[in-house]
Symmetry: C2
Subunit: 570 residues, 2 copies
Amino acid sequence: MTRIHDDPEDFAIRALEGFAALHPRIVRPVPNGVLRATATPKGKVALVIGGGSGHYPAFLGYVGPGIADAAVAGDVFASPSTAAIARVGRLSDRGGGVVFAFGNYAGDVLNFGAAAELSAEGIDARTFAVTDDVASAELGERHKRRGVAGDVPVFKIAGAAAEEGRDIDAVMAVMEKTNARTVSIGVAFEGCTLPGAGEPLFHVKKGRMGVGLGIHGEPGIGEIDAPDAAGLADLLVEKLLPERPEGWNGRAAVILNGLGATKYEELFVLWTHIAKRLGSEGMTLVEPECGELVTSLDMAGCSLTITFLDDELETLWRAPADTAACRKGHVGDRAPAEPLAETVEAEHGFPKGNQDSRKSGELILLVLRDLREALEAAEDELGRIDAVAGDGDHGAGMRRGASAAASRAEQAVSAGAGARSVLAAAGEAWADRAGGTSGAIWGLILGGFASALSDTQRMSRGQVAAGAEAARERVMRLGGAKPGDKTLVDALVPMVEAIRRASAADADAATIWREAADAAEKAAEETKALTPKLGRARPLAERSKGHPDAGAVSLALAARTIARRLADAD
Amino acid sequence: MTRIHDDPEDFAIRALEGFAALHPRIVRPVPNGVLRATATPKGKVALVIGGGSGHYPAFLGYVGPGIADAAVAGDVFASPSTAAIARVGRLSDRGGGVVFAFGNYAGDVLNFGAAAELSAEGIDARTFAVTDDVASAELGERHKRRGVAGDVPVFKIAGAAAEEGRDIDAVMAVMEKTNARTVSIGVAFEGCTLPGAGEPLFHVKKGRMGVGLGIHGEPGIGEIDAPDAAGLADLLVEKLLPERPEGWNGRAAVILNGLGATKYEELFVLWTHIAKRLGSEGMTLVEPECGELVTSLDMAGCSLTITFLDDELETLWRAPADTAACRKGHVGDRAPAEPLAETVEAEHGFPKGNQDSRKSGELILLVLRDLREALEAAEDELGRIDAVAGDGDHGAGMRRGASAAASRAEQAVSAGAGARSVLAAAGEAWADRAGGTSGAIWGLILGGFASALSDTQRMSRGQVAAGAEAARERVMRLGGAKPGDKTLVDALVPMVEAIRRASAADADAATIWREAADAAEKAAEETKALTPKLGRARPLAERSKGHPDAGAVSLALAARTIARRLADAD
């Protein structure tokens, strides 16, 4: 279990701070991430990697010449926020564009995807989700697979291609090829314990072994009696060999990865069998790796990854690298990077709004304070609802998000910001502090509304209606959920429609939001998310009809809170 | 716990094999160890490190340009055998002498010390025991301290000095200086589990923390409620700061080391506090390290090591290195090493003995077979006696040793070897397979007897008496125990005296050994080793008067077995 920490909520931030302090030769810290400390040429494609914390050396340990230009770190096992990713992306760009690369998890897809809207600022930003875990989906649905230790060869090879000076299309192409030829399978003997938690995320019975579990304890494909080392080697190899591509030359980059509490000597013992078995299949192992490359805190278990090389990939796999966790060959002497071109915005630096817009900003602040109070009161109840089908942290995330949003709005209003800036800043703060998928979604909602407002006009019904539609569009495009998927989208769509209708009918603000709240509440009630059958992460098909979706309930609660404030204001 | 293994008895050998297979660029395997794969200049001092397995990256991970020339690996948590160490030392020598460096544990002191008798072969062999663990003895008894993660700076700095081409006296001097300026303290949250064992070596209650425990679970100096990260940093720093040397320049190499299940992010969090605290003491941290440098399988806990530098040590600490676990700077391109000058002796390569001596060799084989049978029968009983005051593995070790010795003697006899070669080979096999301190002692005893025999003469009473004295001399000199310490020495001394006396009185062989057995049995009974009060490792002072020492009992049993065989032979 994780035993060394201060306030568990600060764990990831502190760990990042400690890492950066240890490696000034290689990295320099920025909020929620690190950049290379060494110079890169103008025009180089920037590879920005990231994801939740708790997986070191992923992701911070792979920043440096030959691999990534930067990494963004979220809370433990939670995606970094859109704002944090976008900031690191902006700071990394050298004019050649930014490739955001990460493992395929909902929160990361959402936040990195939203951050890639940097393209609107003239930065060519692309995203790439690694999908190597054969246990998480069949080959036919490869795009649904999770990303595990396959992150390492995909980042390494793409990083080497970027280092060579290839353009962004070429880097994306080699990344796509590497990912398509990379497969992994993991086993677990015991779950890890999050900082501050009293119990592991999951348990495996003594003498048993979970096969195919994800690095956050996602469900596997079975549980068996733990085999001996020879038997384990056979099991791992046999899950991967069937995915050998046609016409492959027999050469492979192979990684045997410990998840945290399965130690080096055990991995070396296992390696003797794996190397023998792969050799007997005619495979040539090219610079194999055996150690801890993508961990899950102190989870007991290991994974095997194979990248089926070709000549191009082999050259890139062997290319020099100099990062905290991966050194190969000799990258040559590197000059220190120039001081950052963009300084991180000052805490209170907001554009001033005019008087009309500031008045609207004050109203937004009142609403956000109400929301903070309402979500604080509802935290336990939202947690209980979420625990039925999720991990039970929805209430805590909403409380953190609303509280951060209200505080940030207070700063903005004090600094004389207009409506648009107040709400935009609040949305970024919400996403930043709430974390996870729901934090990202709320960042998109507030940001969507803000996009239709102005710093020089009083907020209008038309703006609110346009903002609602922008919010819906962003959430659906980046979040990927459709109506009927039993998510917040089921409540968002009718809420936005109610706003549009009432606004078109010239209703007053209080009426618009009352009708919005009515629509959202009705829809939330109908989501009826289900009772769990399995462990922590449950596919939709296994939910029962007993409970509404926690995200939809939160949205309805927010709409009702706004309606009450506007009714009072009348 | 350790879960991945085949036969637990082969764990360390297999792990070594896997490690060597993974790093052909850096190391090449030899029996029980690895040598550098790259060439070193003639005349370079060879640094040979080693100890028990289960501590990776110690020791194998520190072999390569800039640090060690070779490493020797024993069984898990057990010293490598004298023969294995001597073989690796011989293969490493480039004419500049060999420095054997290891942590200060009884078994390692004994085996590396005995291996240093290579000096008799014209190789200048020295030994150095690292003593950095402040919890294991007061500063005034620094030579009694255990070696923990302080191994790393001591090996690194001595290795850099050897790499520069310093001579063996200079390397020993810088090693002495580094060790004298290196201090460590560790804490543990939970013990590790040996391969094949069902329970950890020790437990720490949930929410509690053992302070000062050794890396094999040796007793600490207290147990407290586990503090938060800031409190832990203070505790660790405060145990070490008092040992700052006078006139020190304020610059330090600092290592925060995870023992296995305490993971990277936890160490980074802790590091923020340690760095701040050391900074506030005016300390400048030079290339600090934070990660897993000397582990104890999956033990939960960490240790802090400080080497108080001076200009010389700082230059050596910063010097380039290229090993599996430690890379610094750039060592330059290295040519592969020449093929080994000395090939490892063939399995059955014994010098032929003449007919008289072969006849004595056959008698020795009969005695060794009897011993194998007797010790197999006594295994459980010896284990029970040993468990009172030790770790209960004495019976198993004696069985393994006697069995290996008998098998090896069979090979030697079949190959026509004489008495000296048969017994010498048996002694090496015993030490090799039995492991631990008692294995080393029995290797010394058999080797001592063998040293007085000949391959060209029938074994005589005079030779046996001289052999007994040689055995006693080697055991006492290298083992360091005196009569009255309640060890095997208490039985060995009167046994050797009885042999000398009976032999001088021209008694026949059966009488000599009957009197030897009588003396040993009487003395063994009088050792009366004591009942345990604490955990696993118990100082002599805490033994009760209830039980004889297991080692003394084994020796008496062996003497009686020999006496019976000789009586039958009459």
